[in-house]
Structures are given as C-alpha cells and as structure tokens.
Symmetry: C2
Subunit: 189 residues, 2 copies
C-alpha cells in the first residue's frame, strides 16, 4: 500500500486505529517480522533509560495453553501465534511496563498483526507462570501479550472476551476526558 496523504496524518491515524484482537488465524508470524517487533520493543523509552525489562517469546502451543490458564480473561493466549511475556526487573515498574506493552502492540499492528494484553493473576497463577517460564521471585511477571494475524473481519471489530458483556464499547467523550489548567475546568481558558 502506498500513500499520497502526508505521513504525519498517516501515523496519527495509525496510532488511533489500534484495537485489541483476541481471535487469531493459524498463520505463523514470519521470523523477520517478529524480529522487527522485538527490536522496536527493545527501543522503547523508559524512566532514566533503565530499560527495566526483558521479553520471553513463547511459540510452543502447550506452553501458550498453560500460560492462558495463568490469567483471567487471558484465554486468547492459547490461540496466539506468539506470546510475548514481559519480565520486569521488579514489581514496581508498571508504568514502564505499560509503555513497553503499548509499543509492542503498535509495532505488531504496523505489520497487520493483532494483539491483546493478558494479565497474569491472581498470585497463585503468577507462581505457576514463574515455574513454567523459569522466572525468579522478585521479578515483575504480570503481563503476557498475545500476537497473531486476526482470525477474520469480526475479530477486528469486536475484541471482547465472550461473556464479558459488561465491558463498555468505544470511549468516553472528550468533555469527560480533558480539563484545562485545573481539574474539572472543561473549557479552555
């Protein structure tokens, strides 16, 4: 695909277009594409450039299924082409963990690959995941990302877990999201 639209608008539109995908095609992710996603992940910014993270790539189907059972709302991991597990230096690096997760999701999306965040919880599931992956106590181990090409058109439109019917669709309006100068001041000064 080529474009005649200014790139800045294309990039902005691209970022806004990211949605979670929970159902994946069996198509594998080419090694060169996976490598580029990992490299973009590696370049994510972090507090004082501490890079308080590593990733584990999981592609063995049995391991993905076990990982899926270590979370709530994490069943999507069982069918992922690749699972990417975020291993943080300690349990306090959640903001940097979020930056890394978002960057990985966008990097995959650039290649047409869908993704979804799976949260490893509660604590006894985290312990099982530690054993499964060989991650020592003390390291942050809360987030496993599913990656894969979307199963079909519907997987792109509707990203929710079956049964999660209480989850709202869309986003709150701008007037409930932005304040100006002081919290609750809903008009620019």
């Amino acid at each position: 695909m080529q474009t005649a639209v200014p790139l800045q608008l294309e990039h902005a539109r691209f970022i806004r277009s990211l949605r979670s995908v929970r159902r994946f095609a069996p198509t594998p992710i080419p090694d060169a594409v996976l490598r580029d996603v990992l490299d973009i992940a590696r370049w994510t910014g972090s507090s004082k450039n501490t890079q308080p993270w590593e990733l584990i790539v999981v592609r063995e189907r049995d391991r993905l299924r076990e990982l899926a059972a270590c979370g709530t709302f994490a069943s999507h991991l069982a069918g992922a082409a690749v699972g990417l597990v975020l291993v943080m230096d300690d349990e306090q690096r959640r903001l940097d963990e979020g930056r890394l997760a978002q960057n990985v999701m966008l990097a995959a999306w650039a290649y047409g690959i869908g993704s979804c965040i799976g949260t490893l919880q509660p604590d006894e599931n985290v312990e099982r995941a530690r054993a499964l992956l060989g991650v020592a106590a003390g390291r942050g181990l809360r987030t496993a990302l599913s990656l894969g090409y979307p199963a079909d058109e519907r997987a792109l439109r509707r990203s929710l877990e079956p049964g999660a019917s209480g989850v709202p669709i869309g986003r709150k309006p701008m007037k409930d999201f932005v304040s100006w100068e002081r919290f609750g001041q809903r008009q620019p000064g």
Copy 2:
C-alpha cells in the same frame, strides 16, 4: 512529505524513532494539532476498557513552572508549549498510565512534537501538584508530560537532563533482552 515505501515499514520505523525531547522551541502547538493528540490519547486501550484516566492541559507559563518544581528531573516542564497531566482513577493504574503516556508521546511525535515524561515526586510534591491542579486525594497523580517542538537539532539527539551523566545512552543488545520459551534461554528452540 510523501512516501513510496510500504506504509507498514514507515509506521514501524516511526514507532522506533521516538526519543524524549527536553528542550523546546517557543512555537505554540496549533489548536487543531493539540486536539488530535488529545483525541488519540482518548482512544488509547485500557484494561477491560475502563479508561481509568483524564488529562489536564496546562499552558499557563507560571503553572508549568510550578509543575516543573513538583518533580525530579522534571525541569523540562517549565519550557514546554503544553503540559499534559495524567490523572488516574486511583493509584493502582500504572500499567494503563504507561500505555496512555506512550500513546500521547507517539501521537505528538507524528506531528513533529517532542515530549518527555516528568514524574511528580516525592509525596509532598504530589500534594503541591494536587493543590495547583485541583486534583483530590486518592486519584493517581504521578505523571506530567512535556510537549513542544524541539528547540534545535541537538534537542533531538541528546535528550538527557544536564547533569544526569550517569544515565546510559542507547539500548541493551537483543541477546540481553529476549529469551525463547524460558527465561534465560537465549536462542530460539
């Protein structure tokens, strides 16, 4: 700028290119651009789509200076064209906070706008920031982003605070970042 390169490669390159910028030109950010950055922020994904966040836009110079004094390594806020303060529903939403911060930084970057994360700390500074911005106790208030056009070429190359000489440059190599199937297994199976 137009392109003949496939868009997916352009998007991937764009994400990887994000760097922090700490010194800004006096040029204001056009309202239409700011609005689009805010809209991309609004569309950021969050756990179960809870959207546990709001933003405060700060453009008054005195308020930006006071905000800069509420953090460590946050002096960049004093010279920002716009400060964006993340107000989270509670203190536990750090992963989603990181996703939002990363999306805002990328959205700004799409328009050639640099950004840097300022952390409000320690607790007494957070209290001062609460008073300054009218944010009640209990809400998460830890992150203020500086936004602005880069001051000059050097601001793009070297993003560190003067004096933060212990901060490493670049990123760790892939072999220290990625494991395969199990933590510490440095070659694909």
